[in-house]
């Protein structure tokens, strides 16, 4: 059976034009997707049932027993951390936030290690953004700053920018100019009109210099800024000012290098400055399929997009203090629930060492690096494959993920709702 217009749940692009062929409850072929998307859909290797450690090794257990044990671990904790959320649907994320409030825990999502600093910058100076549809139909200048879409978001260029024909951009490949800014020449730079190579850690200075040039104070800028010549900066500033509609897309090259949120803030303020001359927007290249959704869900429930601490009963937010990395590095938390993420594979070593010392429960369909340090793993279904739900694209557009096969595995919403109900019952509420 061929299913058309399937949404790929892998990255923040949430491409919604996949053709998927299903046979006997298995996905056998995926068309239109990139390699990352195809691999997500086909050859999905799942855990069959909940597993727990019994001292010597792993034993299979039932969902009921696993949820009971998870509830006890969370109830016993003085500072539980609930981390992950970005690969599941919004409905499950909502229950996760309510669970954190119920047990007085800290709830954090993967933005903490990707675009968290972008959100801090947006909270300082706002976000001049738009949807990807606007970019596709109008933008004649694209800047990719500190990101490599060809590797990380392979269909971004063909669906929205360089190779996408838009309503006002008929001959995209000729009409659109592309500027790539990075510390090294990446694959995306090969298709760029202009490549700006910045010394590592030099983005802030280059952005400051561009702001000064755009507002006519190029005279103070020295001949070379972080490895970029003044001539090139002036040329880039002119290209920006002469564009009809410019769009800056930025990645972890800005958010996770020295300066972090201040780099992003500077980029937003450059966008602001350019809007005195023409139309310009800026947007983050979000990683996980539904990471934008976690920010939306967290914000509409708690007022804050990530790193929310409920230990005093009310929501407190202070990245650097209530973020998962900082809590783990300081050894603060005494239990952890990981949902739809793999911190053991991505977090710094001292954080993973602390995770290995405390009881960790993981709700994830796949055996992964975190499996090696957790006490209990409960597999749920995968949003976009055998579970339906809402996800948010990187530009904030909600898209419904379809369940394209039936596996009988409970989805994350059901598992978390049962866990929530059990904890609530034990607390006598």
């Amino acid at each position: 059976m061929l299913i058309k217009d399937v949404v790929c749940p892998f990255c923040g692009c949430l491409c919604d034009d996949l053709d998927v062929e299903v046979e006997n409850g298995r996905i056998i072929r995926v068309d239109n997707a990139c390699t990352l998307g195809s691999k997500t859909m086909v050859g999905d290797d799942r855990l069959k049932a909940p597993i727990r450690r019994d001292g010597k090794g792993w034993i299979e257990t039932t969902y009921d027993a696993a949820i009971e044990e998870a509830a006890q671990i969370l109830l016993d904790a003085d500072r539980p951390l609930l981390y992950g959320w970005s690969r599941t649907h919004g409905e499950a994320q909502g229950i996760g936030v309510h669970l954190a409030e119920l047990i007085g825990g800290v709830v954090d999502n993967t933005s903490t290690v990707c675009h968290g600093p972008s959100i801090l910058a947006i909270q300082e100076v706002g976000h001049p953004g738009c949807t990807l549809g606007q970019v596709k139909n109008r933008a004649d200048l694209i800047i990719y700053w500190g990101c490599n879409p060809i590797d990380a978001h392979p269909r971004h260029m063909s669906r929205y920018t360089t190779y996408a024909t838009g309503f006002f951009v008929k001959d995209a490949h000729r009409d659109r100019k592309v500027i790539v800014v990075d510390t090294r020449r990446n694959e995306s730079a090969d298709v760029a009109t202009e490549f700006v190579q910045v010394e590592p850690g030099g983005d802030y200075a280059v952005l400051s210099a561009l702001r000064a040039i755009v507002r006519g104070r190029g005279d103070v800028v020295p001949p070379s800024v972080s490895g970029v010549s003044r001539e090139q900066l002036v040329r880039v500033a002119e290209m920006c000012k002469n564009a009809k509609f410019g769009a800056i897309f930025f990645g972890l090259g800005l958010t996770m290098t020295a300066g972090k949120n201040k780099n992003v803030r500077n980029a937003i303020e450059l966008t602001d400055e350019l809007n005195r001359h023409t139309k310009f927007i800026i947007s983050p290249m979000r990683g996980h399929g539904n990471v934008y959704g976690t920010n939306e869900v967290f914000t509409w429930i708690t007022g804050y997009p990530y790193a929310v601490d409920f230990s005093r009963g009310i929501a407190f937010y202070n990245p650097g203090e209530t973020t998962a990395i900082d809590i783990l590095r300081r050894g603060e938390c005494d239990a952890c629930l990981v949902v739809a993420s793999d911190p053991a594979a991505h977090f710094p070593k001292p954080c993973v060492e602390h995770l290995a010392r405390i009881p960790v429960v993981q709700i994830d369909p796949h055996p992964n690096a975190t499996t090696h340090i957790c006490r209990l793993q409960i597999p749920g279904s995968v949003a976009g494959i055998d579970a339906a739900g809402t996800a948010y694209r990187m530009d904030g557009v909600p898209i419904r993920l379809k369940a394209i096969i039936e596996t009988g595995v409970p989805n994350d919403t059901e598992i978390l709702q049962r866990l929530y109900n059990r904890v609530r019952e034990a607390k006598g509420e």
Partner: protein, 258 residues
């Protein structure tokens, strides 16, 4: 009156304690105060051995002395308005938040957000201070507005971010982006600084050590002799990217490429 609080040894020593109730004024009514340990509310006496010497009728006459391991005790001196707090060891985050009067003396190191959004009073830290010393809160456009913060050691990144009023004096060096978004006040760094005063709008920053990665958007406007320091400094105005009118003084001749 002296209130001595000695931290008891805890089973989970890394669990943070939030103790905004530890300000001199609160001890006028006794020592029955609440603090939070993780997600549990505790009595002050559960976590500290308390001894009180003498009596007082005004908070100005009260000194609170903290002993033992207080490195995970957050928010000590939050909203403090009078009296004195002495911490004999290290102190946790947010010490002296929103403080408007009185003195805090820390004999060890201070964790992040020391004197955050401070309005008055004096904080002296004998050791090092963490990140965001004397700064603002996330998304807040006004940082420290008054008072004085003095750190005898080094400070971490984003020291004096959004400084709006008052004085910050770091005797050692600062980390990355000291004085970023400064809007007023006076900021003195005796040691080194990296990328200081980005996006500065107003205020004065003096750096007597080495400036690393000087930002390209500061306009050199001359030199000045500082007789009390016996040095000549190069004076910059900026941040030009931000139409800023801030003044940054750097010891020596400044940027090497000029």
């Amino acid at each position: 009156m002296r209130v001595i609080l000695e931290a008891k040894v805890r089973k989970k020593p890394f669990l943070p304690i939030e103790a905004e109730s530890i300000i001199p004024r609160n001890f006028l009514k006794g020592t029955d105060l609440a603090v939070y340990e993780g997600n549990k509310e505790r009595k002050l006496v559960d976590l500290f051995r308390i001894s009180v010497e003498g009596t007082a009728v005004t908070p100005e006459k009260i000194e609170v002395v903290l002993k033992g391991d207080t490195s995970r005790v957050k928010r000590i001196g939050e909203y403090m308005d009078a009296g004195k707090i002495t911490i004999s060891g290290d102190v946790g985050m947010h010490c002296g938040n929103f403080m408007s009067g009185g003195d805090i003396e820390i004999l060890g190191n201070a964790d992040a957000w020391l004197g955050r959004e401070m309005r008055g009073g004096y904080i002296l830290c004998h050791g090092n201070a963490g990140h965001y010393c004397a700064s603002g809160y996330r998304g807040e456009k006004t940082g420290m507005q008054g008072g004085r913060v003095e750190v005898l050691g080094n400070a971490g990144d984003y020291c004096a971010e959004y400084l709006t009023g008052g004085e910050v004096h770091i005797h050692g060096s600062c980390g990355d982006m000291a004085g970023v978004e400064m809007k007023g006040g006076q900021f003195i760094i005796d040691g080194d600084a990296t990328r200081p005063c980005g996006n500065m709008k107003d205020g004065t920053c003096m750096i007597f050590g080495t400036v690393r990665q000087m930002l390209p958007t500061f306009e050199r406007i001359g030199t000045k002799k500082l007789p009390d320091r016996k040095v000549t400094v190069t004076v910059y105005k900026g941040d030009v990217a931000n139409r800023g009118k801030g003044i940054m003084m750097v010891k020596g001749t400044g940027r090497s490429d000029e």
